[in-house]
């Protein structure tokens, strides 16, 4: 063990991370990359079915053969040679409350998060009372035949065959290096199954699942909504999730059945040291619809482009997103859509805000295949820069392979108006409050898409970000 300690480059990580089994230490010392042994240990500890064990090992092979993406914001702050330090097979790797950065604690304070939840959100506490709420919700929807559970339970539950059938079929581990990493080491997350024709009246919120071991780092969300059914799923919450291991490579897969509709809303607020390399994808059958509502706050660097595959005829997608980049943040967000079926439609609408030297880039890709005739696509993005140091770019890509389509793209980049600030100040608002009101108004079209309590939280979050000082 002492030898190994010297290898550790992330000081604050608890030693228990490496306490897999005493025997594997030799391996670890020789190779600080991700080894077969480590993945097997994870699989064993999670009591995976055999197919999952194989899946993890296969993913590991892809991981080792794939290159790190080089087309986006720099991620060289990640210690890829020492990837093992990001992988956490046990829930035991907790930081101490005293070590949680002050700004995170202050944010909890200002958002009014109850004490018990703060510890949990900071990754230093046990589960809290909302687990009870979760159980009640679970019971309520179960009466409709809906399965809502953590994904580990699903692997051994009555729909285990569905998990096997769909797990990482929308986002295969071959997709990119971090998808492969996810496939090898994923842990925690939600499973939702909505049977044919069932409309789930209450939004299911994974907020209540936040404390599953490993959640917040490599969690996997698998949502299967059958023909004619409806689900609104809400993931994440506005409180910053702090994790001393600063890589997040989660994965969300949504399978939308024929004529089904799924709304997936999320507000993510990662701690400012986080590399958020998340992959989200929906596959939509004939007549189905996927609606994404996405708020990206926090993180050091984000790559986030939820993708919709409009596989069936008449299927459609809507993406509404907002990104807020402050000092030291480089957030690369957007959306991707592939039109395969005929008469499919996509609508991407985003807003981005950058302040204090933050970088917020919008990236979109619209692909309309040869057979996807009579399809429509509209992309609009609006960027608001709050000062001269901040940056915003738009990188829209379209790949249109038939001529019977209707596509549009609109981009607007602007700076906050001094005149508007003076106008509001002349009505008694402080300069900060004036800016916050303008930015809140800019974000209003997104807030309107969120359930009211989340909209309020997002507004609070914007106010907090607006007041955040440099450094």
């Amino acid at each position: 063990m002492p030898d190994f300690e010297e290898k550790t480059q992330v000081e604050e990580i608890d030693r228990s991370l490496y306490d897999f089994k005493d025997k594997v230490d030799a391996d670890l010392i020789l190779d600080s990359g991700l080894t077969r042994k480590i993945v097997e240990t994870i699989s064993e500890e999670k009591n995976d079915p055999e197919w999952m064990r194989q899946f993890r090992l296969k993913s590991l092979e892809y991981y080792n053969s794939l290159e790190i993406p080089n087309w986006g914001p720099p991620i060289d702050g990640l210690d890829m040679d020492n990837i093992v330090t990001y992988v956490r097979p046990k829930g035991a790797m907790h930081a101490k409350w005293e070590e949680v950065p002050e700004d995170i604690k202050n944010t909890f304070e200002r958002l009014g998060i109850p004490q018990a939840e703060r510890a949990s959100l900071a990754g230093v506490g046990a589960q809290y009372d909302s687990e009870i709420v979760y159980h009640n919700v679970k019971k309520e929807v179960a009466a409709q035949g809906v399965i809502y559970t953590d994904i580990e339970s699903a692997l051994r539950g009555p729909k285990a065959d569905l998990v096997e059938k769909y797990f990482m079929k929308a986002v295969p581990p071959t997709d990119h290096k971090f998808a492969a990493l996810h496939g090898a080491v994923w842990s925690g997350g939600s499973f939702v199954y909505v049977p044919e024709g069932v409309s789930v009246e209450i939004p299911l919120q994974s907020y209540f699942r936040l404390n599953a071991p490993g959640a917040g780092q490599f969690e996997h969300t698998l949502i299967i909504v059958e023909k004619g059914a409806y689900l609104h799923f809400i993931e994440g919450c506005s409180a910053p999730k702090y994790n001393i291991a600063n890589l997040h490579a989660g994965c969300v897969e949504i399978f939308v059945g024929e004529d089904a509709r799924v709304r997936y809303s999320t507000i993510e607020n990662w701690s400012k040291n986080m590399y958020n390399l998340n992959t989200k994808r929906a596959i939509v059958e004939k007549g189905g619809a996927i609606e994404w509502v996405s708020g990206s706050f926090g993180s050091h660097t984000s790559y986030l482009y939820p993708m919709s595959v409009l596989k069936g005829d008449d299927s459609r997608m809507e993406y509404t997103g907002i990104t807020f980049a402050g000092n030291g943040q480089n957030l690369d967000t957007g959306a991707k859509v592939v039109h395969i079926g005929k008469n499919t439609s996509s609508h991407i609408s985003t807003k981005s805000i950058s302040r204090d030297g933050g970088i917020s880039n919008f990236r979109s890709e619209v692909i309309i295949n040869k057979n996807a005739v009579d399809s429509k696509s509209a992309v609009t993005c609006e960027s608001l820069m709050l000062d001269d140091q901040s940056r915003s770019d738009t990188i829209p890509v379209s790949d249109i392979r038939n001529s019977r389509v209707d596509i549009g793209h609109e981009a607007r980049i602007g700076r906050i108006s001094e005149e508007a600030i003076f106008y509001l100040m002349s009505r008694g608002l402080s300069e900060d409050d004036a800016k916050a009101l303008i930015v809140g108004g800019f974000a209003e079209p997104i807030a309107k898409e969120l359930p009211v309590e989340y909209a309020v939280e997002m507004n609070n979050l914007i106010n907090l970000e607006m007041k955040g000082s440099i450094g």
């Binding site: 108006s417 009505r427 008694g428 303008i438 974000a443």
Partner: protein
């Protein structure tokens, strides 16, 4: 301490390094209504903007005293909280912020206590009714897509809700439509009492009709060249500035 609400003393103001006000004095007491007159570019709007604290103007010399306090270097929000209000000629559009939300926020900023939603809404709707504004405006985004008349009404509505000690109405634009003129007139009637004061920039005889004018001031080339009462306003509206500024454009 004098009993003046506003005292402007020897005010020199420039914008983009060009001096616009070259030494202006003005004293306004509670209960008074002052009319400011002058040709385009004379400095009327500059004067009121400087009183409000518009950052695009620089005060080179002089003082602005409000309610006994020197506010020359204060930011606009502090001035607003002390009781100064200015209606804008071209108010900014603020997308995503409803008139109601904005005004409740602004009133809270000024009084220090944010009203509860329901009582505030009641107050707002009654003030809107007084201005013949449709209740649906409360839900609209502030000034977004508003006509000139609608913007003007909304400015006056803000005046009534925020209820300042000093209202400055910049109605320089001679092209105000009937609706806008009516809104301003009604607003002044509704607002005015013996404890507050009004400064209005206008040449519009309709707006001033029936108003008891305390004093009037003609500004030319950054200076007050003549002070008077309602008779001076009449003269300017009837004859223009010719006789006052010697018939020459000496700007």
């Amino acid at each position: 301490m004098s009993d003046a609400l506003l005292e402007v003393k020897g005010l020199k103001v420039s914008a983009e390094d060009k001096q616009i006000l070259k030494g202006v004095d003005l004293t306004v007491k509670p209960g008074e209504l002052h009319v400011i007159l002058g040709q385009n570019g004379a400095g009327k709007s500059t004067l009121v903007s400087a009183i409000m604290g518009d950052p695009s103007y620089e005060v080179d010399d002089g003082q602005i005293i409000f309610d006994g306090e020197d506010i020359t270097d204060e930011k606009p929000d502090i001035r607003a909280r002390k009781g100064i209000f200015m209606s804008f000629q071209n108010p900014e559009e603020i997308p995503g912020v409803t008139v109601e939300n904005f005004l409740r926020t602004a009133k809270g900023a000024i009084t220090g206590v944010k009203d509860r939603v329901i009582p505030f809404r009641k107050e707002l709707l009654s003030k809107m009714a007084a201005l013949d504004m449709d209740a649906s405006y409360a839900e609209r985004y502030l000034n977004v897509g508003f006509s000139g008349g609608e913007k003007k009404k909304t400015e006056i509505l803000q005046l009534l809700v925020l209820n300042p000690k000093l209202a400055i109405l910049d109605e320089t634009d001679s092209g105000l439509d009937v609706d806008a003129v009516r809104a301003v007139t009604k607003g002044i009637a509704e607002f005015r009492n013996k404890d507050n004061a009004i400064i209005i920039i206008t040449h519009n005889a309709k707006i001033l009709e029936g108003l008891e004018i305390t004093a009037s001031h003609v500004i030319s080339d950054g200076r007050v060249i003549k002070n008077g009462g309602s008779e001076l306003v009449k003269e300017v509206i009837t004859n223009g500035f010719g006789s006052l500024i010697g018939g020459a454009d000496n700007a």
